[in-house]
């Protein structure tokens, strides 16, 4: 293209592109994805064993302690796999992964404890350099990066982040809009190696329903090379077919389906259970120090073989009291 016809880059963020954009490879992969209606039911351990490897770029949905795929997160920590790169829009699951020191690079938007403030795990891992590369984004920007990948395009334009150090430490680029002349930040598409989402209901093939707000499940589920679902409840495909408008994630996006009631514990799950406030308050104390966090991980993750063992440890009385 002639120079006079190209759009000049007015500004480039200093941050690196942690996950390279390869949309043609993504198209090839999507072409080959299994479209058969075959059961993908498996355990957390099988899913992590089959689909996750060292160094993968991973992401989680939703936010805070809400609908977080914690049973899969604990399986990841127990698996011994490590050195992950992360889309850092998650909170409780990411906090545990940082506590276990499994993250090396982060596309960072928010990792903290919301009303309870700064996370001890984030502080220890980022300030020490255990996490060696941090690139800044906003919540909308990171989600729109998934959206770009979901659309199959290499970038999406936004008015967010302009004029900030968040932009400076991102990997976005600023151009003048060829239609209006205004400045726009271009956000590079983000394709996850493996995504993890917890849903209210799924059938054995991976058709998923989510009750209430859907966060960024729609966009993220379509921006994954591999997608592992955990579901509060496994339902018949007939029930999926009775209300197809409720399917937010169709089966062909999904690689593994794990039946995991209370998967978001100690967080909450809409229409299923409340947050375990007592346990979370204990966690808030433990995460303040490395020693406390290690004790927590030993007792509540490493020393338990699987999700059922965790549920047994919590006990039916407690779990019943959390049911909505």
């Amino acid at each position: 293209m002639e120079n006079s016809k190209s759009i000049p880059i007015l500004y480039e963020g200093e941050g690196s592109l942690i996950q390279p954009i390869d949309l043609n490879a993504f198209r090839e992969l999507n072409r080959k994805k299994n479209k058969k209606l075959e059961s993908k039911l498996m355990t957390e351990e099988e899913a992590v064993d089959r689909f996750l490897k060292d160094g993968d770029y991973i992401g989680f949905e939703l936010y805070g302690t809400v609908r977080a795929p914690m049973s899969l997160t604990r399986a990841i920590i127990r698996s011994g796999k490590t050195d992950f790169r992360l889309a850092g829009q998650g909170v409780h699951e990411v906090d545990l992964l940082l506590g276990a020191n499994l993250i090396r690079e982060i596309d960072f938007t928010y990792i903290g404890l919301e009303v309870f403030g700064v996370s001890g795990n984030v502080r220890r891992r980022v300030e020490s350099g255990d996490v060696s590369n941090v690139v800044e984004w906003s919540n909308a920007s990171l989600t729109w990066r998934f959206k770009a990948a979901s659309m199959g395009i290499p970038f999406i334009a936004t008015k967010c982040m302009l004029g900030s150090d968040t932009l400076r430490r991102s990997a976005a680029k600023v151009i003048e809009c060829p239609f209006t002349g205004e400045k726009l930040a271009l956000l590079p598409a983000l394709i996850l190696d493996v995504g993890f989402i917890h849903v209210n209901r799924a059938d054995k093939y991976g058709n998923c329903q989510i009750d209430g707000i859907s966060g960024f499940a729609f966009e993220m589920s379509r921006a994954c090379k591999k997608l592992i679902i955990s579901a509060e409840e496994i339902i018949d495909t007939d029930d999926i077919r009775k209300a197809p408008d409720r399917t937010i994630i169709p089966y062909y996006l999904v690689d593994g389906v794990v039946h995991a009631p209370f998967a978001s514990w100690p967080g909450e799950m809409s229409n299923a259970h409340e947050k375990d406030v007592d346990h979370y308050n204990m966690y808030l104390e433990k995460q303040k120090t490395e020693v406390g966090m290690n004790e927590y991980l030993k007792e509540w993750v490493y020393d338990l073989p699987n999700h059922q063992a965790l549920l047994d440890k919590i006990g039916t009385t407690k779990l019943k009291s959390l049911r909505i």
Binding site: T109, G117, V126, E127, L162
Partner: protein, 254 residues
């Protein structure tokens, strides 16, 4: 009823009074949730609350404790997702946005990313989250801050969320939507706006018992003082009654 009030209750009332009826407010965790709920029950029954991860028009019967909380779509009019909400803000649909941070400067720029050099931080903070998006796209932002010299600084360590950047016209020059930006800063000492020409922070009203000197002494930059600085009314009996009995019956902020 006990008409004594604590600092949080005062901040909640001050923030609540700023919000107009028939508008939309992007609500963050904590004090903004209580302020919006109080405003709905005092003077703004048609204030629509918008929560980042998809809850619009919820009835805040129980206080949400997080922006993705089930309570953010309690009896709501719409439960969608973050793209729907952020895109609404980007196309000009959301009037007020609430912000907070570890540091603020005279132009209302906010830092919630890192204390010290971001590449080798003394304290790694939680990051932008939705703050940058709110500060970029909502029409009028309201920052709620604790007021001292460590927070009100001449130069903050990192601009997570742009205010007026370095003065008049800077937001537009950076490409941000025109006629947007910081509107008020509400602190334990008073309420501040931004002077039209310089876009610098200006004291417009003091909280009960606070002096102009106290504000100056606790601000790390030269603060403008409005010609007629008024005193904010303390929380009224009605405000306190609604706040304590309806908005926050469990006393989380008492």
């Amino acid at each position: 009823m006990n008409t004594e009030y604590n600092p949080s209750e005062l901040l909640i009332c001050l923030a609540s009074r700023i919000m107009e009826d028939g508008t939309t407010a992007f609500i963050g965790t904590g004090i903004p949730m209580l302020a919006a709920s109080l405003a709905q029950q005092m003077h703004a029954p048609n204030l629509i609350t918008v929560f980042e991860f998809g809850g619009t028009g919820a009835i805040l019967e129980k206080l949400p404790l997080a922006v993705g909380d089930t309570r953010t779509f309690n009896k709501a009019l719409h439960a969608s997702g973050i793209c729907d909400i952020m895109e609404a803000a980007q196309r000009g649909f959301i009037e007020y946005g609430f912000l907070g941070g570890a540091q603020i400067d005279a132009y209302g720029n906010l830092n919630s990313t890192a204390i010290g050099d971001v590449l080798k931080p003394n304290v790694r903070l939680p990051g932008s989250g939705g703050a940058n998006d709110v500060g970029s796209c909502c029409w009028r932002t309201i920052a709620i801050m604790k007021h001292d010299k460590r927070r009100f600084m001449e130069k903050i360590d990192f601009i997570t969320t742009p205010g007026f950047i370095d003065g008049s016209g800077a937001r537009e020059a950076a490409g941000l939507p025109p006629n947007t930006g910081p509107y008020r800063v509400v602190t334990n000492l008073g309420v501040f706006d931004f002077e039209e020409k310089s876009k610098r922070m200006r004291l417009i009203s003091l909280n009960p018992g606070v002096t102009v000197e106290e504000v100056k002494d606790n601000t790390g930059f030269e603060i403008l003082i409005a010609d007629n600085v008024e005193y904010n009314d303390p929380p009224s009996e009605e405000e306190l009654k609604i706040l304590r009995e309806k908005v926050d019956p469990d006393g989380l902020y008492r």
